[in-house]
Symmetry: C2
Subunit: 405 residues, 2 copies
């Protein structure tokens, strides 16, 4: 007998039929003798509908009230799932974020989980009841309702699993698990049986959108092992866990790509302290999200900075940089290039294996794919290529590191 | 400056435009310098929609979960109204039943208000905020969500007004106030400036459906004076209050009618103890709601019981009574009559004025309207007449007691 926490997203509980299906999945686990806690989101579409009502009333609705409004969505879905379970003869009770003891801090619409008091959940479990917890919400120490922002229900599930010391935490979603690459791009991509928190974080940050980074970071911080699996079938998914020695034998865990990138290069920058700060500060103020940053000194002794960003941000970046460059009193100039894409290889095995970058670059060279910028971290190597070559590039590198099925 | 509690029903907040109108009404009061607390229902139709979803999942949904589900409706409307007020520049905060400190007992879907801890509402008022309270909901001492059943939002408003010692409690609804008679029946009906709790209770119980009796009883118990007025205009409504001496100068406050009534008369009942109990017990078991009861001894020494009920219950009553009569071992028989209606005169002045019944019967007699059953209480006289004469009867009595405008 295991104590299992399952998280179901808005799509999985998006209609009455789907709620009934989730109830049946939980029933299956109960019949195997497992104790069950389900953490669920609002029915798909409900949150957007409520936001639509609020925006009819105000361009800038009070955030405290948005939290009260939006948290009603999960209150409905937990009650409905609980009704469905009771109808199947499975004694079930719903608990709101408040009743689940999910204590938050931070600001409205972006609450952070500080602690969980699992007294009520544990009491219901001791009465052999199935507990349905409202994800995405909690309360402050003043009793005010908070929502947790994007990916909040995953966060709730991982935090609840940690608080009740669950044996298993399953994030049920519309993907089968974490793959070595996006199967739509790389046909030979394989589902990974396991992956470390850090690897998932690096993959998540470069386009493989399985989960929000904050949920993975929370799981890492509290050492909660969880599984990403499909809510549509019973196939095993991918276990996300602390890294262990045998993981290092795999050099590269996966390959990911990010399209629609643009590069801005500023040349002729006086090589004096504070220059980078001024340039990046201007971009931050214009809310341009910078991704890769590459900087070096050119043969003329002047600095040269390159950044990548989403193509949509390029115009805003140019506008923001113009006054900075004008103030430099030098021959600084901007070069821009849209239509590029980023390819990343991620793997903790990189730390203990040499020649990974060389192998990656060589495989791209053999395929006549030119590399633009290069950026590396401890467990990731990213390069830019022309966007029309990104799929070939992903395929070539996937094969080179022996990731093909 | 007054502290005003206003209650708005589901129709008044049924659309985004109507929510905006309610916000403007509250703004007007704020601009007069008044402090405002609004108690509101779910947007019209939301509760039914949620019940529909629940009934798709179960014929008999768990009541605990229905409370969690339905209470989400007010959580949405309070947030939306609060957003609308903030948009108008009126600082406003929403509070759920729990945050309003509404403590309940009783069973799920039929909670009773036991007490209110107004700490949070008072704190917000002291910060000069407008407070929007979710009607229809509260929590048990175990922290479980309760809804209050039909008319629950009126109850919440009256209880909150009592707890915060409001100067004024206004129940805003789709009627203008309480009338001397239904204006659709009696053209000369007048809106009453005031009425006592007991009179409203008697009128409410005989068809003038302004408010649920339990809310009026609650107001009477705690001495909360309130006003029933229209949410569509700014006309003064009807003040409902404790009776005072000057009220007694009016003999009859109002006249009300109830249509679609039927009479069952049982004749030839042995005049022995326990007979009435057996008969009424059988009807109660069959869930027949009895209204008037008239009983006397006929010239043959046998008892004769007559009851009125809604016509819809007549068939069920006959089925329920058959075995009782068969067991009596006497010549007991049932007579039934459908197509009758009930006319009632209500007024606390009746207590100190004699001849009220005589005047009522004489006016009906003059109009050639035959009286069937008669039943009286301290402040009410009811008679049955043929249903096709009920409008004439109401008109005649209304005029006889000087109620015409």
């Amino acid at each position: 007998m295991a104590l299992i926490v399952q998280k179901y997203g808005g799509t999985s509980v998006g209609t009455i039929d789907r709620i009934r299906n989730v109830a049946k999945r939980i029933q299956c686990e109960r019949e195997k003798g497992n104790q069950m806690v389900a953490v669920i989101s609002a029915m798909g579409g409900v949150t957007d509908k409520l936001l639509g009502l609020a925006s009819e009333l105000s361009q800038n609705p009070a955030e405290r009230e948005l939290d009260v409004l939006l948290s009603s969505g999960e209150q409905q879905s937990i009650a409905l799932l609980s009704i469905a379970l009771n109808e199947l003869g499975i004694p079930a009770v719903s608990v709101t974020g408040r009743q689940a003891g999910i204590l938050t801090s931070g600001s409205h619409t972006r609450g952070r989980i500080e602690a969980i008091d699992p007294t009520l959940i544990n009491r219901y479990l001791s009465e052999d009841k199935t507990v349905i917890v409202a994800g995405f919400q909690g309360i402050t120490d003043q009793g005010m309702i908070h929502t947790l922002g994007r990916g909040g229900s995953d966060l709730s599930a991982i935090a609840v699993a940690s608080a009740i010391k669950a044996d298993v935490c399953q994030i049920l979603t519309d993907v089968d698990g974490v793959y070595t690459a996006d199967p739509r791009v790389v046909k030979a991509a394989r589902k990974l049986p396991e992956i470390s928190y850090d690897e998932l974080l690096e993959l998540a940050s470069v386009g493989t959108k399985v989960m929000q980074s904050r949920s993975v970071e929370f799981a890492k911080k509290y050492g909660v092992k969880f599984e990403v699996r499909s809510s549509l079938n019973n196939n095993p998914g991918t276990i996300v866990t602390e890294e262990h020695e045998s993981m290092e034998s795999v050099v590269i865990r996966g390959v990911s790509i990010e399209r629609s990138q643009a590069r801005v290069t500023i040349t002729g920058i006086p090589d004096t302290p504070g220059m980078s700060g001024r340039i990046l500060g201007a971009l931050a103020e214009a809310e341009v999200n910078i991704d890769m940053i590459v900087s070096n000194i050119a043969h003329d002794g002047r600095a040269r900075h390159s950044f990548t960003m989403h193509t949509n941000d390029l115009g805003r970046a140019q506008v923001a940089l113009k006054p900075v460059l004008a103030s430099l009193d030098s021959d600084a100039a901007i070069e821009t290039e849209a239509g590029i894409a980023k390819l990343s290889c991620v793997g903790i095995g990189m730390r203990s294996h040499s020649g990974v970058a060389a192998k990656m670059f060589a495989s791209l060279g053999d395929a006549k794919i030119n590399i633009g910028m290069i950026s590396t971290s401890e467990i990731k190597i990213s390069v830019t290529v022309q966007e029309d070559q990104i799929e070939d590039a992903a395929q070539v590198v996937h094969t080179a590191f022996g990731l093909d099925a």
